[in-house]
């Protein structure tokens, strides 16, 4: 099988049976999986979700010496504009700014012009083209523009075929980026093996990566980061890596798999390094594969000893928590909270796919009656559930904490707290204590909240609008 042959990555629904609409017990999903596969459900009422365009831009904007041409109407690049705030490398970008005539007559002239302009202005090593719905619907010919200008400008040009409607799971956009880079920049042939590993990183922030680097340095591993914050030079090196290693196994799955498929680079995909046991296991698995077991053993016992001391000194209060996160991170945080003796009473996952069967089995074994939500955004369901569960802390990372604020409960936003590795344990404990010790801001804000949802809806079951898809 060659995943890289098509112009675009297979959507997660097809590749991994990913589902984005569900409320119920783990048992139900496990049964479906045992029978055939997870059942695709749809919402007959929905709130907006991230698109592959937004997610693709999130990664591309971190790639060094690159430029982006967003091929679409003016609004499609606002996500890129907003990433300006986190700009690690000042990637350069333009939009083709399609108008009504372009939407009818096609727009390859503008695309060529856009690429030439960013090339002339910024001398990038790679130019990314990100397509959008208008271009996808009209099936504009991007491929021949790529071929033509690659020749003319002598640089790498990578088309990322985002469209906003093929997948219901925005994170598919991450896969599109890895797919297009490997397909369009690297030669087909397997390469000589070098002594470093590909560290597959997607949504981890610089602070998250600092801890990961610290741990891998202790093992004595040399790393090549991909695709986040990569560069043309680093991209060329991924073919020679001895291993590919995941941080977040969900996000790294696609690049790890295609690199294994095409270049036979062994893919080490352990549990996410969040929490004491998970981090230890992550390190142990990597050490086992790469032959650094003694370093790992020392490191783990040293770090564990420190943390045990810390936990004994300052055990956090026992509180009830609602978690709303992407799956690997959510399961990691749940494990960490268990280690801290904090109870998870509510759970929402942005999606679930076949890689989460083991997590579902653990959930079923520990709490057979526990019902959870699956969906990105869809805060109407979250509010419905939170009102019924009355949690005391909310942990999320979606950027929208409207529901938690409305409920007046303390919010812990993982966007701004690095939770990976052993230092992540300390960071989370510190934040939980801070949040619990003074919640005046959320409480006062809650008093000013208007009613957003009808009483009729809040009385219904959270899965009222989740239906089996009619084929």
């Amino acid at each position: 099988m060659d995943s890289l042959r098509p112009k675009s990555a297979a959507i997660r629904e097809k590749r991994l049976q990913a589902i984005s609409a569900f409320y119920g017990k783990a048992e139900t999903l496990l049964q479906e999986h045992a029978d055939v596969q997870f059942t695709q459900r749809v919402r007959t009422f929905s709130q907006d979700v991230s698109s592959d365009i937004i997610k693709a831009l999130e990664i591309i904007s971190t790639i060094r010496n690159s430029a982006i041409v967003v091929h679409g109407t003016a609004g499609c690049a606002v996500a890129r504009l907003s990433q300006q705030i986190f700009d690690e490398n000042d990637s350069h970008w333009a939009i083709t700014n399609l108008n009504e005539r372009d939407s009818i007559m096609g727009s390859d002239v503008k695309l060529r012009e856009g690429i030439r302009q960013v090339f002339k202005l910024h001398s990038p090593e790679i130019v990314f083209i990100v397509s959008t719905p208008v271009v996808a619907i009209n099936n504009d010919d991007i491929e021949s523009v790529v071929e033509e200008l690659k020749e003319e400008l002598g640089i790498a040009i990578v088309p990322v075929y985002a469209d906003g409607f093929r997948s219901k799971i925005g994170s598919t956009g991450y896969d599109l980026v890895s797919h297009s880079i490997v397909k369009h920049v690297l030669p087909l042939k397997k390469a000589d093996v070098s002594d470093y590993v590909n560290l597959l990183s997607i949504s981890e922030k610089p602070n998250d990566l600092n801890e990961i680097y610290r741990l891998l340095n202790e093992l004595g591993l040399r790393t090549n980061l991909f695709p986040r914050s990569t560069s043309l030079e680093n991209i060329k090196r991924i073919r020679n890596a001895a291993f590919s290693i995941s941080i977040n196994p969900d996000e790294a799955d696609y690049p790890g798999t295609v690199l294994q498929e095409r270049y036979e680079i062994p893919f080490v995909q352990p549990v996410i390094p969040i929490g004491i046991e998970n981090t230890s296991q992550w390190l142990a698995n990597i050490a086992l594969a790469t032959g650094h077991e003694s370093q790992a053993r020392n490191l783990i016992s040293r770090e564990k000893a420190q943390l045990t001391q810390l936990l004994e000194q300052r055990a956090p209060e026992k509180k009830k928590v609602f978690i709303s996160l992407q799956p690997a991170i959510a399961f990691g945080i749940a494990n960490l909270l268990e280690e801290l003796g904090i109870e998870v009473i509510g759970l929402k996952l942005t999606y679930v796919d076949k890689h989460h069967v083991a997590n579902l089995e653990k959930l079923k074994a520990d709490q057979p009656e526990f019902a959870f939500l699956v969906g990105e955004g869809q805060l109407f369901e979250e509010e419905n559930l939170i009102r019924k569960l009355n949690p005391e802390i909310y942990i999320g990372d979606s950027g929208d904490f409207a529901v938690a604020i409305r409920s007046g409960i303390p919010v812990i936003n993982l966007e701004s707290i690095p939770v990976f590795g052993f230092s992540g344990v300390k960071n989370l404990i510190t934040k939980i204590r801070k949040a619990l010790s003074n919640n005046s801001f959320t409480k006062i804000s809650a008093q000013n909240e208007a009613k957003t949802y009808t009483g009729e809806w809040l009385k219904k079951s959270p899965n009222w609008f989740i239906k089996q898809e009619v084929k």
């Binding site: 929905s46 499609c76 504009l81 960013v118 929208d400």
Partner: protein, 439 residues
């Protein structure tokens, strides 16, 4: 550059403009008929780029949206929209639901009006506005949404109950204009000097009643190019006269001039306006006097460049030039007003006979950077996107236009008499901070 390619584009599309309108009125709810992500991109520009002042009664991810998928793009998404409208009214309480359409369903040709008519026949307050991104920018989206809502409301709320003392404000685009809420409140305060009541229609305390009140006003005050067609519609429909001021007045003399024109239009006795102006002008002059020592000590007279939308930039430029002694070299207007208005804007900005203020119309980040590097102003008033050029030139940047992602704006305003005081305060502070930083 040619062919309409935009570098570092600062403005969203028509759909975003419409959403900014709907999100800024309590009790209005959008139903977005488009592919996934459109409203999230819009919220980026409201929450992150408009000085972090974007959150309202609905959260970032709480807008009702069909998020059409491939089969609805191929076979049409009308049935999906019907279902979404039917269920939105059950889940989200609102006084008015506005269906706004994105590029995908518009290209496919979904019959949105038919779905809306169906919902209306069932008694639900639902309307639609066509807002595909390929048809217009964020400012156009504002205009289309406001017009659409007024058309609908006016079908049901006649006869009028005229109130000559009520003034509607048209042309302030909420969450695109960084200073929108503060500006509306400052206008309210300013018109209050003439005992007039201001119908702000957006922001704190504004709901469907404010919009139902629009036909009753005695005057429509238009403070940007984007309110003009709305005012013309209202004149046609309700005979309401309008005053096209074209921008937001800052300090003296513009604020006083606005008050004079309005009192003439509404037959307000001269002694009222004289009394009102007197105290405010005195207070502003008093602040000038307080600043005079520093103004000279630190040589606050500079050559400036301004970047931003017509509504804020024209008034700020005129005040800084005509009253505050600044030399405005360049003004870059980023909201793309039509050709007929451009001439007027250029004239409004060229107020000093001793030199020419160059006026450029573009929203292309590259053209803006190049112009600033060429002009080499001593102070830039613009958006966070101008930070890099400001650093290169080693000059202070004062943030007055979107996008701003490194400063918070809640109720800030630089217009009217009071806003002018904050403007000179922030101007002087930026220069002092800059001087002390490089020393």
């Amino acid at each position: 550059m040619s062919k309409n390619i935009l570098h570092k584009n600062r403005n969203g599309c028509a759909l975003h403009g419409a959403l900014k309108v709907i999100d800024s009125v309590e009790g209005f709810a959008p139903i977005i008929h488009s592919s996934a992500g459109c409203s999230i991109q819009s919220k980026y520009s409201e929450n992150i780029l408009a000085g972090s002042n974007g959150r309202n009664h609905r959260g970032w991810l709480e807008s009702s949206a069909t998020a059409v998928i491939e089969k609805q793009v191929v076979f049409g998404g009308t049935a999906r929209l019907r279902e979404q409208i039917k269920n939105t009214v059950k889940v989200q309480a609102a006084d008015l639901y506005v269906v706004v359409t994105g590029c995908a369903p518009e290209i496919v040709g979904d019959d949105v009006p038919a779905m809306v008519k169906e919902a209306q026949e069932q008694g639900f307050p639902v309307i639609s506005v066509s807002t595909p991104g390929f048809k217009g920018n964020v400012y156009k989206g504002y205009e289309w949404a406001v017009r659409g809502i007024i058309e609908r409301i006016s079908q049901f709320h006649l006869p009028q109950r005229p109130n000559l003392k009520l003034v509607n404000i048209l042309g302030v685009v909420p969450n695109q204009d960084l200073l929108w809420e503060g500006n509306l409140q400052e206008l309210e305060k300013t018109l209050g000097l003439l005992s007039l009541k201001t119908n702000k229609i957006f922001g704190f305390g504004q709901d469907i009643e404010s919009w139902r009140n629009i036909p009753n006003a005695g005057l429509n005050l238009v403070v940007s190019p984007w309110g003009l067609e709305i005012a013309q519609l209202l004149e046609k429909k309700f005979d309401t006269p309008y005053l096209y001021f074209g921008y937001l007045p800052v300090g003296t003399p513009d604020t006083s001039r606005l008050l004079t024109i309005i009192s003439e239009k509404l037959n307000i006795p001269e002694e009222v306006i004289t009394r009102a102006k007197y105290r405010e002008e005195k207070l502003l002059a008093h602040q000038f006097q307080k600043l005079a020592q520093s103004y000279i000590k630190y040589d606050l007279q500079k050559e400036l460049a301004l970047v931003g939308e017509t509504s804020n930039v024209v008034g700020i430029s005129r005040f800084l030039q005509d009253s505050f002694g600044q030399i405005v070299k360049t003004v870059i207007i980023t909201d793309n007003p039509n050709d007929e208005l451009r001439q007027q804007i250029a004239e409004d900005l060229n107020t000093n006979p001793n030199y020419t203020t160059e006026v450029i119309f573009t929203s292309d980040g590259k053209a803006i950077d190049e112009e600033l590097l060429k002009t080499r102003p001593e102070v830039i008033l613009g958006s966070s996107l101008e930070q890099k050029v400001a650093r290169k030139l080693s000059v202070p940047l004062i943030r007055i236009s979107t996008p701003v992602f490194d400063q918070v704006f809640l109720n800030q305003s630089y217009i009217g008499y009071t806003g002018a005081i904050y403007l000179i305060q922030d101007f002087a502070s930026a220069l002092l901070a800059h001087t002390s930083r490089i020393e």
